[in-house]
């Protein structure tokens, strides 16, 4: 039975152990990175079920090819790159279904009644709506930059763009998010 508790092992050491097929090291790595991998998949694919499948597929691919990981970049960057590529392939394969699911999720996310602005759950809904209005690439860049606090050079290597491109997209996404959130909040404030 794998040990589920979080250890203080550095990621490099866990990766070395994972290369030697130590199952507990693999469990630790999955536990450390599942949140971000899942969120990236969710931002690209737009629904929970597809995100679950794609993120699980990401880990399986990563550990089957872990001997191909050279320590010339961060393990997390390598893993997120696999996740990004897996999701893009998945999205191309299931394009009509994903678009439909995105619409359904978007419809579900629409608040049916006026809500009080300061509630955290409402802010979460607005933020999700704003993020969903971004192109998936931009949402991934925003997530990596703000949640994982990755430098733009690392993000560029993950999404396969130049650093300048990432900066431009980040700037544009930030501006769009701000406008969208302000618009949503203004609309809600007017309804109060």
């Amino acid at each position: 039975m794998p040990n589920e508790t979080q250890s203080n092992y550095p990621t490099e050491e866990l990766v070395r152990l994972a290369k030697e097929n130590h199952s507990n090291a693999i469990v630790q790595i999955v536990n450390r990175h599942k949140g971000m991998v899942f969120n990236l998949a969710y931002r690209i694919l737009g629904n929970y079920h597809d995100a679950q499948e794609a993120s699980q597929d990401t880990f399986v691919k990563a550990f089957r090819n872990i001997n191909g990981f050279r320590a010339d970049c961060l393990f997390s960057s390598w893993l997120y790159k696999i996740c990004y590529n897996t999701c893009i392939t998945y999205k191309k394969r299931n394009l009509p279904a994903v678009e439909l699911n995105e619409r359904i999720v978007h419809e579900k996310m629409q608040p049916q009644q006026p809500v009080f602005l300061s509630e955290h759950s409402d802010r979460k809904i607005y933020l999700n709506q704003a993020l969903e209005s971004l192109p998936s690439d931009d949402a991934v860049i925003v997530s990596l930059f703000y949640i994982e606090e990755m430098p733009t050079s690392e993000i560029a290597s993950i999404v396969g763009l130049t650093e300048t491109n990432v900066r431009v997209k980040l700037h544009r996404a930030r501006k769009m998010l701000k406008e969208k959130l302000v618009h949503l909040l203004q609309h809600e404030a007017a309804n109060l």
């Binding site: 092992y9 507990n24 969120n39 089957r64 930030r174 959130l181």
Partner: protein, 133 residues
């Protein structure tokens, strides 16, 4: 982000801080059994049966070797092997480069077959070693 008085003049740095904090709090949680599902997918159990894995590997290796010895020669046109011998390799002739290319092709084919079999056997029969962390 100031939403109390719908003042929309929001400082960029303030917005960045707010966005970072909110995005962290708004992360979608994967299902609770996520890790178990991943581990189950990674750790495929070895073949069941009464035959020892070691002998399965030996049997497959012998079968593949015998099949390769008998079958491979017929897969290629006879011209391919016409000049493939040590004497032609050592002879300085107009077809020297062609011979080297043929030797190289055969060598690459051998390496490719070895790599595929090696990978297959490693993935199919390896088992994970649990260690306490």
């Amino acid at each position: 982000m100031n939403i109390e008085d719908t003042n929309m003049e929001i400082n960029d740095a303030e917005f960045d801080r707010w966005l970072g904090r909110e995005l962290n709090e708004s992360m979608v949680e994967p299902p609770e059994n996520f890790t178990e599902i991943v581990m189950a997918a990674i750790e495929k159990p070895p073949l069941n049966g009464s035959i020892d894995t070691f002998w399965v590997v030996i049997l497959i290796s012998i079968s593949l070797t015998m099949t390769a010895l008998v079958g491979v020669i017929y897969l290629f046109p006879s011209e391919l092997f016409q000049h493939v011998n040590i004497s032609s390799f050592l002879t300085v002739s107009n077809s020297g480069i062609k011979n080297i290319v043929q030797y190289g092709t055969l060598l690459l084919l051998g390496v490719a077959v070895f790599y595929v079999i090696d990978n297959f056997l490693e993935h199919r029969f390896r088992c994970r070693k649990p260690i306490p962390l």
